[in-house]
């Protein structure tokens, strides 16, 4: 894996950002895009564009085939059994809303419990919260331990007879903790509990193997996986997608429409109402190919080195406090600096081209628990280098200087 060649595939690194080289450490928010993806979007629109699945002229047929090819690529990439287990959505957030809404319609009863964790992103909490009101569902929170991990015992002890769903992140976007999904699924399934995984950070950083994880649903955010914005993937086991009701209604998802009744189409159409994000789906095939060309094992190895290096230098920097110390950490280094608020850190780093995120990162519950209103987060992509982390550290030192620390 040659990092210089990889960086060359991302046009943005040719740009100067306020006269600085870009040190992009905000990939957990959204990753940059390789040229192959951009070219595919452009080519599709300028040479092959048509809507998919509706018309039968040449362009429409070709576009439909390309669209379905991506479904197959995703199926293979995440090792799903059937291509119809892949549903395209507008993002991971929609995917999680789809699951919460349809499980809510079909299998949840008042007083049933949904178990989530203190690590969850708002996108894996608010959709379940809706069911509190509409269905009188209870939500329980598995607690983090002092390392910012969720050990399986903390899950186990919150499970009751009423627990119907465990909705859990694969990789925390704040502590970077990688959760033992496979073990959680085994435990959950032994009790008949449905497992929904928020795979937003798992997508870019981990090997995705649905047969191994055996979860019932897995939500992916394509724009964090070197793909276009406005696209997500919901993986759902066929038995669920067949059994659950549709989520949105409209063109393309129907079978027969009469004035007094409507029957719905089969998978995958059932969950893809209306014109989909055609160009984005077609271009996402290139993101998968890009990931495959490097190899997820190489990516994991590269990022692990960076994480270790980052931890090392930040730990040496007194007044920096790393958030979490999970057994297995992926992609993310969150921290606070004694005496400097995260927003001030972000602004000062930005001045030298170092882009990080400051705030609660859509994890207010976790920040409440940690007793801090906000944190600073440096998050990694395949294109980052140790040099980027050195610049991060220099920036932090600059903060300390400005704040007289």
């Amino acid at each position: 894996m040659n990092i210089n060649n990889i960086r060359k595939e991302f046009p943005i690194f040719d740009e100067k950002i306020q006269n600085n080289d870009l040190v992009y450490l905000d990939s957990a928010n959204s990753s940059q895009k390789p040229k192959v993806v951009l070219d595919r979007i452009n080519d599709f629109y300028s040479k092959q564009f048509s809507n998919v699945g509706r018309s039968i002229h040449y362009l429409a047929v070709a576009a439909t085939n390309l669209y379905e090819n991506t479904r197959t690529s995703v199926q293979k990439y995440i090792n799903a059994k059937d291509k119809n287990e892949i549903v395209f959505t507008k993002g991971a957030t929609e995917a999680l809303n789809l699951v919460a809404n349809t499980l809510g319609q079909a299998i949840l009863e008042p007083n049933d419990e949904i178990l989530i964790t203190e690590l969850e992103h708002h996108s894996n909490y608010v959709p379940w919260h809706f069911l509190r009101k509409s269905k009188n569902i209870k939500i329980k929170f598995a607690e983090i331990n002092e390392d910012g991990d969720i050990p399986i015992e903390n899950i186990e002890k919150e499970i009751t007879d009423k627990t119907k769903v465990i909705a859990i992140t694969h990789l925390s976007n704040v502590t970077g903790a990688v959760l033992p999904i496979k073990e959680i699924t085994q435990l959950a399934h032994s009790k008949g509990i449905v497992v929904v995984v928020d795979g937003c950070q798992g997508g870019p950083h981990l090997k995705l193997d649905m047969q191994d994880l055996d979860c019932d649903f897995y939500a992916i955010s394509c724009h964090k996986m070197y793909g276009p914005t406005g696209l997500g993937v919901l993986y759902g086991k066929k038995k669920w997608l067949e059994q659950l009701p549709p989520y949105q209604g409209g063109g393309g998802m129907i079978n027969e429409v009469k004035k007094d009744r409507i029957s719905y189409g089969e998978l995958p159409n059932k969950y893809e109402a209306g014109t989909m994000a055609t160009a984005q789906v077609i271009a996402f095939d290139q993101s998968i190919k890009f990931l495959e060309s490097i190899g997820i094992d190489n990516i994991i190895k590269h990022e692990k080195e960076l994480i270790e290096y980052g931890q090392e230098i930040l730990k040496k920097n007194n007044s920096v406090k790393l958030i979490g110390n999970p057994k297995e950490r992926g992609g993310v280094l969150s921290f606070t600096v004694e005496g400097v608020h995260p927003h001030d850190i972000a602004t000062i780093l930005d001045e030298t081209g170092v882009a990080i995120r400051a705030g609660h990162h859509c994890c207010q519950i976790l920040h409440d628990k940690l007793g801090i209103p906000a944190s600073a987060r440096a998050s990694l992509g395949v294109y980052n280098t140790k040099d980027d982390l050195d610049k991060l550290n220099e920036g932090i030192n600059n903060c300390k200087k400005i704040f007289g620390l």
Partner: protein, 154 residues
């Protein structure tokens, strides 16, 4: 691509004057098929007698020349066959439309095979394959009589 191959004489003729159109009397098996994309639908009726022979077969529905011709030719060829023979013909036909260059079964006579092969023109028109196969899938469903409505998405 070649429109002439798609719209051969025999297709146009069967499309215009489909055989076995209507609801056969005393049918004991039936199934509906539907193409949600374009609104085509077909209803296949079957009379399977005690010897498991297709005593009568017919269809109702509307669709393009290809789908009407396909249903017409299908019902013509299946009539009088045993259910096992019918299944073999169906499988052979679907295999031919999907990938095989030729029909392989030994049940149909050569000129019947020629008729069926006239439908092979759709291979070059992927979006039209469903038109040619809908009635056949529906026949399978009728024979299994599992009551499941067939859509062409599968």
């Amino acid at each position: 691509m070649n429109l002439k191959e798609l719209y051969q004489e025999i297709i146009l003729e069967h499309g215009k004057n489909p055989r076995n159109l209507g609801k056969t009397e005393n049918f004991n098996k039936d199934a509906k098929g539907n193409n949600p994309l374009c609104g085509d639908n077909v209803h296949v009726y079957l009379k399977l007698n005690d010897q498991r022979k297709v005593e009568d077969i017919s269809f109702e529905g509307s669709g393009c020349a290809i789908s009407m011709a396909s249903a017409s030719i299908m019902t013509d060829l299946i009539k009088g066959k045993s259910d096992n023979e019918a299944k073999e013909i169906i499988e052979d036909f679907l295999g031919m439309i999907k990938e095989n260059p030729e029909l392989k079964n030994n049940i149909l006579k050569e000129d019947d095979k020629t008729k069926l092969m006239c439908l092979s023109g759709v291979k070059q028109y992927p979006m039209r394959v469903k038109c040619a196969t809908l009635s056949w899938h529906t026949l399978v469903s009728a024979m299994e009589n599992d009551g499941k409505e067939i859509t062409t998405e599968s």
